[in-house]
Symmetry: C2
Subunit: 143 residues, 2 copies
DNA sequence: CCTGATTGCATAGCTGGCTATCTAAAATTA
DNA sequence: TAATTTTAGATAGCCAGCTATGCAATCAGG
């Protein structure tokens, strides 16, 4: 076929993303974590107390998705949401002690999954792949 | 941080996959299609009458996911499911005329999205990206 | 031939992504 | 200052992925 499934970038990226997600899911399940919370945790481990809006813009995710993710994280004792005293609309998001303690093992799990999923590539090829994806994300035509 | 979010392959792949999915979603919406059906359609456009099991193994997707996807496709008039006379457990999946007619415009939309999402890369870089992803998928450590 | 294991599929229930829409709090402007 | 617009967040409803489980048809051994 003129649109070979294994030759289409979009098809391959979707497949590879599923492979990654499946692997990471099993690796962080023992920690009580799920994949959807991971990007949020990375931001908050770096900078605690961000607003929901901050997270939305930093992670390129829809506001509604972020709100739901934060609700699950709150339910699971990973974060607290406190209204910003300076702006009654905003809520600042703070990690619990439990979530702070998960930083090291969670990152180790993610690195292990990166290794496993890219086991077929040389170190140089992995760097190339990362560089190409970063460039693609930087240069995509919006809309 | 030691695990730079923009340097992690898994993080980038997830992000890029979302970018692709968003773009393709809007492009194929006018055709009455959604992204989840796309891989299935590619297989059936190539080989009509596959069983659900065939699709599951070819697409590396869970059986339950495939069953749900096929239900939506049936509801939307894209496929028919017929029991295999030779094996009462199997169901063979056949495209409707409507789905067959969507082949050309759907593939054109996917190619357009590939172009847009990889607009920041040269042609050579796109080929490299595709080759690296294929190699990664071929060589990942299972489990 | 009958029983038990295997196979193909459906369903329930969850996460996580999206759009659309609503509310309340600021911010702007007439 | 009062009315309007903009902004932050929540919620409803959908698609798409997953695991776990149940059921019915087939297959394999005894």
């Amino acid at each position: 076929m003129e649109f070979l499934k294994d030759g289409s970038a979009g098809y391959l990226i979707n497949h590879l993303a599923r492979v990654f997600a499946r692997g990471l899911t099993t690796r962080i399940k023992p920690l009580g974590l799920t994949t959807g919370t991971f990007p949020t945790l990375l931001e908050l481990w770096e900078t605690d107390g961000l607003t929901q809006k901050d997270l939305v813009t930093r992670l390129d995710i829809e506001q509604a998705t972020m709100a739901n993710t934060l609700s699950r994280m709150e339910r699971d004792g990973m974060i607290l949401r406190r209204r910003d005293p300076a702006d009654g609309r905003s809520q600042r998001v703070f990690l619990t002690e439990r979530a702070r303690a998960l930083r090291e093992p969670a990152i180790a799990a993610a690195q292990a999954e990166n290794e496993a999923a890219l086991a077929g590539l040389t170190l140089e090829e992995r760097d190339q792949l990362v560089a190409l994806m970063r460039k693609a994300l930087a240069g995509e035509t919006p809309g």
